[in-house]
Symmetry: C2
Amino acid sequence: MNEVTRREQSRAATELDIRRQARELLVREGQEAVTLRAIARELGITAPALYRYYASREELLSRIREDICGDLSAELTAAMPTEQGHLSKVFAVCRGFRWWALAHPREFALVFATPAAKGTRKRGGPERQGGGGTAHEQEMPRRDELGSVFLKVAGPLMAEGVAESPPAHIPEELRDGLGDSRRDLAEAFEAEGIDMPREALSAEAVYLLLRWWARLYGQVALEVFDQFPFDVSQAGRLFESMLVELAGESGLS
Amino acid sequence: MNEVTRREQSRAATELDIRRQARELLVREGQEAVTLRAIARELGITAPALYRYYASREELLSRIREDICGDLSAELTAAMPTEQGHLSKVFAVCRGFRWWALAHPREFALVFATPAAKGTRKRGGPERQGGGGTAHEQEMPRRDELGSVFLKVAGPLMAEGVAESPPAHIPEELRDGLGDSRRDLAEAFEAEGIDMPREALSAEAVYLLLRWWARLYGQVALEVFDQFPFDVSQAGRLFESMLVELAGESGLS
DNA sequence: TGGGCGAAGTAAACGCCGTTAACTCGGGAT
DNA sequence: ATCCCGAGTTAACGGCGTTTACTTCGCCCA
């Protein structure tokens, strides 16, 4: 067993080439230049051949989004120091995210700023199709893989009860409404294999997590899309300032 | 004088129709549906006729971006209470911005999250082509018009020395680098006809202004692009919480 | 009042695009 | 040796932005 016929091999290689060329076009010339015909041209084949691999251009773009998340995920994981205390890990991931976004603005836009497409973004129900595992269990959406990086770094911090000082008093009505998010987050940690004592997932902790993500994403998007009101050559320092501030508000050193 | 020939009238009307149809297509079906042929079809003319009005599709989109800024600007101005203290005005503008963005996601994306297009976004030099004014002095980019709304509400707050308490100690290296921004901001206020004593434009004030914009933009983009890590039904409350927090950090009631 | 100029609009065409349908042809299983 | 099926092809459809050459008609001036 484990025979890989030439056909399978060739198919896999071509599929990879397609995505690679598509990525290159995206980087070089922007989203609307990612054209089935252009990809095919670069690969020395004809456009309709691509339909043997993807049902449509939109599906190809979708796969590319996943690839991008995978790459980003790997890069952030690599940038994370082993043995350095959780705070430096958090900082490393945040800085890594910013750096990646600035270096790959089109990819960032494709993944993090595509206007939602209406029906997308379902809450992932219990639709695990648990077939017998061959080798690598199989191709879960890379989006989760990216989330897992953030969870891996946030988890330990939350587990050890980050905010000894409960600095941000949450508005009452928000505290109540955060219940669903607490459950979602608990599930996510469990799925990730990270132990998370129920009481560590306080409303405060969830609130803090949301603030981290909101400000990180916000500042990065602001910078990538160049939406500073007047030119800010100090964006980097501003970002660093945000990080230490956020850390302070979270009760970290 | 002041004669408007039928030609001019007709031309102006058609130009307006074009932009209106384009906006409708944008809202209804998204950016890539804003097609010269589609617009022409809806107007009962042929596509090449549009080239009498705009040199290219890209130029048309550019004009639409300006129109959108104009509308948003007007909406925010209207939403601003007269006679209510500066803080409520700030809150009203922020809430208005969020509300508008959620109600007009495609417009928001077009204006606030388009990947920069390389050569754009020059710092506006002294290239005023001050011809003799006919009627309305003429068509300054709507982007400035939008900025002016924010300046109009931020100005008074800064002028009266917002942060009596200097709460956020700015990192030294950032304080230095903020010099350019202070100059830019001073110019902007002057251009807007808002008196701004030089000493009110402290580094702290500029820093606070940047934080307001960064968080406002960030949170709104996060919500429009649906990038919350898990579903947050409480986005509205989260937004409100951010506002009061920001106000607190700025030394406002 | 008429002549002509210039602007608004059209028709036809070019080269792109995504997508479909009908085909060739060769590797792999029987 | 045979058949099958899947990767790849060619040809075609309709839609796209844009250019070119043309009609047509409102306006200005004689």
